[in-house]
């Protein structure tokens, strides 16, 4: 790399790193503060809580009915994962392998739900879902969450499928595989890493998706992040520590999947994958 040892350059580099360190320190301190508070007995006007206890977790568990909320959260998340995988991978295969009139328009159609922020399309979507009678139900939440995740899977999978040489498929056909067998024996095994990565990211997104779930969920179809929102919103009612305990539980449920996903993808891809598409048009 080009070496620059002038004082100006050194100052500049120091300044850049100082900003990074400042940011990371604040981020870490914020997370540590939540965790400490969730284990603290009383924390008022001091650097650290007066003592430590695990009772807030039991309190949060029963107060917020986390058992039920977690079950609903994962039911919704896994159904969203399965459906977006099914719809997304098949569509991605078609888009990766075929050129047809209007393909650009179809790509734009899949790009829009990722570019338009959920709160913007969530309000008309919730309106329609309530009118159709699924608003406030389990399936309403599933449908709303699928809106960004299906296009997400498609846009992640297209480049992944494109890099598989079509000649491999041709070879499988020459040796007698029909479409179904081709898919099961040849394509699927090769696509597994990509599908796994895409679906794990869908899982992380769905567990963390606040706006769409918030707008479409009823009392029995809340996910953890929405329950967390309501408890923070009404924070005077409950002890701060038990809200923090719930926040820690939420962090764990998200981060476990994130860490697994990061074994398959680069962190930059989590934000960049779907976003690079418009630059190429």
């Amino acid at each position: 790399m080009i070496r620059d040892t002038t004082i100006g350059a050194k100052l500049w580099i120091t300044a850049v790193w100082a900003v990074v360190i400042f940011f990371v320190l604040n981020l870490a301190a914020m997370i540590v503060a939540v965790i400490l508070s969730s284990f603290g007995t009383r924390w008022l006007g001091t650097w650290l809580p007066a003592g430590f206890t695990d009772r807030w977790y039991f309190a949060a568990w029963s107060e917020f009915q986390l058992h039920d909320v977690l079950i609903v959260t994962f039911q919704i998340a896994f159904i969203v994962v399965a459906l977006s995988g099914l719809l997304g991978v098949t569509a991605a295969y078609a888009l990766a392998r075929r050129d047809f009139p209007g393909k650009k328009l179809v790509m734009l159609l899949f790009l829009l739900p990722l570019l338009v922020p959920p709160i913007t399309f969530g309000i008309p979507l919730a309106t329609v879902l309530y009118q159709a009678g699924v608003g406030g139900t389990f399936w309403g939440v599933v449908i709303a969450n699928l809106v960004p995740t299906v296009p997400f899977v498609i846009l992640v999978m297209i480049p992944f499928i494109e890099q598989i040489d079509p000649k491999i498929e041709a070879a499988a056909r020459v040796f007698g595989a029909n479409t179904f067998k081709l898919f099961i024996h040849v394509l699927l095994p090769m696509l597994v890493p990509g599908i796994l990565a895409a679906l794990l990211l869908v899982l992380v997104r769905t567990v963390g998706m606040f706006e769409l779930t918030f707008l479409t969920a009823g009392p029995t179809s809340q996910t953890l992040v929405v329950a967390l929102y309501y408890s923070v919103f009404a924070s005077g009612v409950r002890a701060v520590q038990s809200i923090d305990a719930m926040a820690v539980i939420y962090m764990i449920t998200t981060l476990v999947w994130l860490l697994i996903a990061l074994r398959f993808v680069n962190p930059t891809q989590i934000v960049a994958r779907a976003k690079q598409a418009p630059a190429q048009q």
Partner: protein, 294 residues
């Protein structure tokens, strides 16, 4: 006897439409049904107000300061956040590009993006609060005498948007920066360009299209700020952003028509800014950032 005319199926196949193409159909129909249709429905609904003429909702929005000021309030959050995120992301990405072990940093930075705004708001309530570590540390070093008021006002929302927005912009920018062939910088240096000239004449023009996309996305996300504006801000006053107005219309006043109108205005403002940024982008070179045949 063989048909001299190709069959419809053959003609379609020639244009790229066959059984494989049809695999895309379920997803297309799904997105049409749950994204395009609700949007179109919302647009039409916004012209069918509870009372008054077709444009009554829009007239009401733009005549009621409690409503139309939400646009300025939101812009006042979203634009500084976008500019600051981008201004920090570019130099840091140019530096991080040189690191051999970027993974740890990028992993740390992806955390706030995945944890989401609700958790960040919850965490900041404690951390930035009057008894929180942030004010305490500043007081320890004697920078301030009394705790700063950073929650339930503009700055709380601003901080939460930076915490989720900066990593997002940074990771996106990093992916563009690492796409530039390092040989181009070498070529510029050997032919006499100093550090600033290399940035000005080589990196900046090559990054401009990517930075425009980063700016659009981080602006759109910041403009749609919602939970943190309620939890960390002052949702009745200084941080009454446009999404709060839309939410209240829909779920507190049950005026779906008005809510749709506000959502459409929200989308329109986003589109105006995005179009402006993209138009600016078109002034720059767009294409490969590689230095030659690979």
């Amino acid at each position: 006897m063989a048909d001299p005319q190709p069959s419809l199926r053959q003609r379609l196949a020639l244009r790229g439409i066959d059984g494989v193409t049809l695999l895309a159909l379920p997803a297309i129909l799904f997105v049409l049904a749950v994204f395009i249709y609700p949007f179109a429905y919302g647009l039409l609904l916004s012209f069918e107000p509870k009372e008054g003429g077709a444009l009554a909702n829009y007239q009401r929005f733009f005549s009621d300061p409690f409503l139309y000021r939400t646009i300025a309030t939101t812009l006042w959050l979203a634009i500084p956040v976008t500019v600051i995120s981008l201004a920090l992301a570019v130099p840091i990405a140019l530096r991080v590009r040189l690191m051999t072990r970027q993974r740890l940093l990028t992993t740390i930075l992806v955390l706030p993006v995945t944890l989401g705004t609700v958790l960040v708001a919850e965490g900041l309530l404690n951390y930035l609060g009057p008894q929180g570590w942030f004010s305490r540390t500043l007081m320890l070093f004697g920078v301030i005498e009394h705790p700063l008021k950073l929650t339930n006002n503009y700055w709380g929302v601003f901080a939460s948007l930076i915490i989720t927005g900066f990593p997002f912009t940074f990771l996106l920018t990093l992916s563009y920066v690492t796409g530039i062939d390092p040989a181009l910088e070498h070529a510029a240096a050997t032919h006499g360009a100093g550090a600033w000239q290399r940035f000005r004449h080589v990196f900046l023009p090559l990054l401009a299209p990517g930075l425009a996309i980063s700016a659009c996305l981080s602006f759109v996300q910041a403009f749609a700020v919602f939970p943190s504006a309620i939890l960390l801000g002052a949702p009745a006053g200084p941080t009454r952003v446009i999404s709060i107005a839309a939410y209240q219309a829909a779920f507190e006043q049950y005026d779906y028509s008005m809510a749709s109108a506000i959502a459409m205005i929200m989308a329109a403002v986003q589109m105006v800014i995005v179009v402006a940024i993209l138009a600016f982008r078109n002034l720059f070179y767009r294409g490969s950032t590689a230095g030659g045949k690979g």
